[in-house]
Symmetry: C2
Subunit: 467 residues, 2 copies
Amino acid sequence: MTEFLQRLRDQLGAAGLLEGSDLAAYENDWRKRYIGRALAVARPASTDEVAAVMRLCHEHRVAVVPQGGNTGLVGGSTPDDSGRQLVLSLTRMKRVRAVDVFNASLTAEAGCVLAEVQAAAAQAGMLFPLSLAAEGSCTLGGNLATNAGGTQVLRYGNARELCLGLEVVTASGEVWHGLSGLRKDNTGYDLRDLFIGSEGTLGIITAATLKLYPQPKDRLTALAACVSLEDAVSLLGLARQRAGDALTGFEVMNRASLALVARELPQLAQPLAAADWTVLLELSDAESAEHARGVFEGLLEAAFERGAVQDAAIAQNLQQAKSFWHLRESIPLAQAQAGLNIKHDISLPVSAIPGFVAEMDATLAAYLPGIDVIDFGHLGDGNLHYNVQAPRGVAPAGFLAAHEAAINEKVYDAVQRRGGSISAEHGIGRLKRDELAARKDPTALALMRSIKRALDPLELLNPGRLV
Amino acid sequence: MTEFLQRLRDQLGAAGLLEGSDLAAYENDWRKRYIGRALAVARPASTDEVAAVMRLCHEHRVAVVPQGGNTGLVGGSTPDDSGRQLVLSLTRMKRVRAVDVFNASLTAEAGCVLAEVQAAAAQAGMLFPLSLAAEGSCTLGGNLATNAGGTQVLRYGNARELCLGLEVVTASGEVWHGLSGLRKDNTGYDLRDLFIGSEGTLGIITAATLKLYPQPKDRLTALAACVSLEDAVSLLGLARQRAGDALTGFEVMNRASLALVARELPQLAQPLAAADWTVLLELSDAESAEHARGVFEGLLEAAFERGAVQDAAIAQNLQQAKSFWHLRESIPLAQAQAGLNIKHDISLPVSAIPGFVAEMDATLAAYLPGIDVIDFGHLGDGNLHYNVQAPRGVAPAGFLAAHEAAINEKVYDAVQRRGGSISAEHGIGRLKRDELAARKDPTALALMRSIKRALDPLELLNPGRLV
């Protein structure tokens, strides 16, 4: 290790290698669920330096934990507590290498903060649509390594669908120059999509070429009240039909989640009377706000006629549109104020969601009367945050200790039975690795392990994560 | 082999195994460029039977050539002439297993003809947008194995982007049950996209869950004349900005290609005066034909003002819209009538296309005066069919024999220099395998070969293709 560290120092210089005791920002995840200890933190400034680090690690058999903004939720980007894993931070690689307006693409390095990528696109009059809560600190490399989702998936897809090409350093320190700006390329296996979402276990993404979109002329938001989740699904179908891809948001909130917001954040206006399900719809219009308003009015009228919607409000201005979104985005905060809870980031076929929710709500009510299900999420993507709060008057910590494992099992069993996923957008990391091993199709697991062995035979890349 | 064939007969029965001398339909590709000889043709009727066949092949070390509609262009789905490869035809597996309107998805078996999949979607009031010339005979399995493109890629993407989940039989006869209808699922490596486009070399796709879309309310088509390819690229940017995803077609045709159509197919009306570049635009509108017409008028007006367009015609009715498309689709026929030519299915960043065309046109004119470049294709996808016709008066066969290799090298060199692809949508198969080995990034090739070894260590799956 002494020789390895010396060679690393020679390679990277003082700015490129952090050693010693003050590495906590790199060693612990931001939720402080994983407290680790790093051998050192390498901070290469270029792809060549990343490759040189990997060649040294390969030669000395040192395990590497790639890290971006360290905003992950599943313990995927911090070292274990052995003190033998090298953190490889990409945060110094933050150049936007090129913006190509005519090809509607942008090439940026892995360490770029997502908001900086969005800003570079906007400066060129274009849109990079990936958007999520951590965008001010998460990095492009992390977004791609975890196939990030966020609030614009319904229209633009996950990070994977926004990427045209990658530059990747392999476990042995080779560089794959795959920064293609092509929309069509059938010359071999889809390596790009294999690295995307592999959580740093197959290679290190150092740069990416991304898709840009035209900026929409205007955005318009509406709230709608439904008596059932079936009606919300029916409204989704109608909205897709009438608005096509102008529909960029379709979020649902159950009665309990808005009641919780009313209790915990009473200063927030709730424009509609409480309903079993409240839907937030967003249109991004290529023409004008007036056009979007016309589409919304036609859509809501049709939905009223069909009986799918009981009440609705279209935002009258940007301020009000923001307040609608703020309501939706305040649910996690209201939950945090109310105390610890059990979170699930699940996805299901959209058609299976009403049945799942009815069954789970009944199962949990029977299991523990008074239990509070805070159910909200991206219905358009089939992605629910099905969170479970302690019955009122019960201490959250004790509730979690006593019931978390049992409730997780009930929820994941029901998800699995209906062909759903136990991690829609947060990934696996360390948190769900055993759950994945227990629940994933065994042939898929065997294929994944074969691929891992083929691309990282010495298990140097983020060992103990994902597979 | 005798024992193997006997066990295969026992497994599949008479309907499931074709032997003897009358197998030409399975042994030769439809363009008759690859004449092969099969050991036999297995025609399993279910996923379990496919798995049983693969287990037998694995045990007896028999190589398998998976085959769908046998409409490929690169020799990827017919056996070599050794008589030792088993053709595995999926054409008996043609059940549409499920249509889920609320989830906007459809599950079908690999042997379904593409047109049947489209029809099943239409019957449910939805659209499955994959569309290509061979749709009456190509199969879903082949479409996915080759990541087919076609005429709707600009808006809906290639086959890969239209697929949510797969069922796959591995080289050792295991079944991966991955028929997910999920739009978000971050539980491990992206096996789906690895199998899609792998041309039968990593596993056998037996069924898929596909994305459906709302049927557009109406389609509208226009032709526009541009004085340069730069103007056509500028028109594309403008069209994207104003029409958003309603823009479903953006095809270009150079002067020579429409002149060839005028010579060979004089009965076809050409609505615009000859121009250096003619663009075909298609809008698929979620609202109405009137709305689409308004968008077109606004777009073309802005393009005139900007000087990007010199002349334009919007189709007045469905009949005329069809005749615009027919003009574009008749170019290959006009080429065939004019005699053999050298075809290239290339892609480039859209921004690089004008420079590439200017350079190549000049290079070829200098190389062989009088040479005729028939250049047309999906500009919106960066995909050109840059085809080269013999100078008039020169016999095509002799022209090809003398110049094909040299011209291919010039074209592919220029494509490679600009970060393009030598196979945008047709794949690699046997035809371009050596070209790929010579031109692909060496790290990418090494990664591809590692994956092939990991998933098919005995080289049973479509050996000699792609990698």
